[in-house]
């Protein structure tokens, strides 16, 4: 039952990302709800479950994409693995800052991997480095993506904190003897 619910939420997220968000006015069409959702899931759960979900999301996104199949699967998986390493090594405290930072790291790795794979794909299939692969508003769009990621993760963090204890910060106190 819980698995079915997760799957339904996943489908809804994909539909929202593929069909609803792109139809929204500027700058709202830059929201990347999938990456934010997956980062929250990664922080609240574990890497294995997040990767399962990430691969499934990637399959659905790739089915809707005109780029080569596997682009989103690989980008999401890379982003989740590297974010996991960051969360395990550096951002171990469950503060809002680390939460926001991790979401933006995931977004950055996702965008970077995607860009790199498309670049390599064009190079190996068309044998050129010179094709213009960045569209006119690419950097503006990227800035908005990060901005929305910060806003949504902030809201998500406090919402999760309100309803659950999973994100509560904890401190090790030393008792004076």
């Amino acid at each position: 039952m819980k698995l079915l619910l997760k799957f339904l939420i996943l489908i809804l997220l994909v539909i929202a990302q593929v069909s609803f968000i792109p139809a929204l006015p500027f700058p709202f069409f830059n929201i990347n709800i999938i990456i934010i959702g997956l980062t929250i899931f990664l922080i609240l759960n574990n890497l294995e479950n997040s990767l399962v979900l990430g691969v499934l999301v990637g399959v659905f996104l790739d089915l809707h994409s005109f780029h080569f199949f596997g682009l989103n699967i690989l980008s999401i998986a890379t982003a989740l693995i590297l974010t996991y390493l960051f969360s395990a090594k550096f951002f171990t405290n469950r503060s809002v800052y680390s939460f926001v930072f991790l979401a933006n790291i995931t977004l950055f790795i996702f965008e970077f991997t995607r860009f790199l794979l498309i670049f390599l794909f064009i190079f190996f299939t068309q044998g050129t480095f010179y094709q213009e692969i960045i569209y006119t508003n690419y950097f503006t769009s990227l800035i908005y993506k990060f901005l929305f990621s910060i806003i949504i993760t902030f809201i998500s963090f406090y919402s999760i904190n309100y309803y659950s204890k999973k994100m509560k910060s904890f401190f090790i106190s030393v008792k004076k003897s």
């Binding site: 990767l51 809707h64 692969i133």
Partner: protein
């Protein structure tokens, strides 16, 4: 947790297997079924997003919106949902009526399609995804039509149940065009910054003025002559250049497309 645990390695192999099976065509049936199930929901989601965009950008008649708003205030949630559904149907009806009007005057074989997604990605500014594909007879190069014979894009990639098209304002979308003037000046249009269209390769000797209507020239096999591209907004003429170019204004808002048609032959 170990990074390369047994479960993660299995997951990695599964992901690679999915990609291989996709290219081998083994997953075609499953993929087509999944897309067929999702398409109607995606169409509705896209139209809902479009409604928000229209209200936000101000493409709707504010007088009507005020009245509609007054009416909506008096309704409960159930009626509100019904009203949104009706508004979407009304818009669909209006778009279909305009399309029908155009096709009743011409003998083209057409196919109606819903826009289910829009993408701006590497190398392209404006791409739309429509819910018809190879199975419906769509081929690359076919024109996308909106309202009364206005060309809004061109198909560049076709899959079994979906197709992708560049909007005419995308820099990758090139269309053979001609102006409605004395000499029927010909040229090639290309999208410009996702906002306007540029018509290039017009010889310096041609006289083209602001307000001239630009149509398709019919020099492309899949695109018939006479589809409206837009009106000339600005003429760019340098004495040293071999050719002159013009900026064309598309006649409708390409950001709110929801129902389009494709000319099949």
């Amino acid at each position: 947790m170990k990074l390369f645990s047994k479960k993660i390695i299995i997951l990695f192999i599964s992901a690679v297997l999915i990609i291989i099976l996709h290219y081998a065509g083994v997953l075609n049936i499953v993929e087509n079924y999944a897309l067929a199930i999702l398409k109607p929901i995606e169409g509705t989601a896209f139209k809902s997003g479009n409604k928000i965009r229209e209200a936000y950008v101000g493409d709707v008649d504010y007088g009507d919106l005020r009245i509609a708003n007054e009416e909506l205030k008096n309704k409960n949630n159930e009626l509100l949902t019904q009203n949104i559904q009706l508004k979407i149907l009304q818009d669909e009806n209006e778009a279909l009526r305009k399309q029908l009007e155009f096709y009743s005057q011409h003998n083209y074989s057409k196919l109606l399609a819903n826009v289910i997604s829009r993408e701006g990605d590497y190398g392209a500014d404006q791409i739309i995804t429509i819910d018809k594909g190879l199975d419906d007879g769509i081929k690359t190069g076919q024109p996308i039509i909106a309202e009364n014979g206005i060309i809004v894009g061109k198909i560049f990639l076709v899959e079994n149940t979906l197709s992708y098209a560049y909007l005419i304002t995308d820099k990758n979308c090139q269309i053979a065009a001609s102006a409605i003037n004395k000499k029927e000046t010909i040229g090639i249009t290309k999208g410009d910054l996702g906002l306007t269209i540029q018509m290039n390769f017009i010889p310096q000797t041609e006289i083209i003025t602001k307000g001239d209507i630009i149509i398709t020239s019919g020099l492309e096999t899949a695109i018939p002559k006479g589809l409206i591209i837009g009106t000339v907004q600005e003429v760019k003429k340098e004495t040293n250049d071999l050719f002159q170019s013009v900026i064309i204004n598309p006649p409708l808002n390409l950001n709110t497309l929801a129902i389009v048609s494709i000319i099949l032959n």
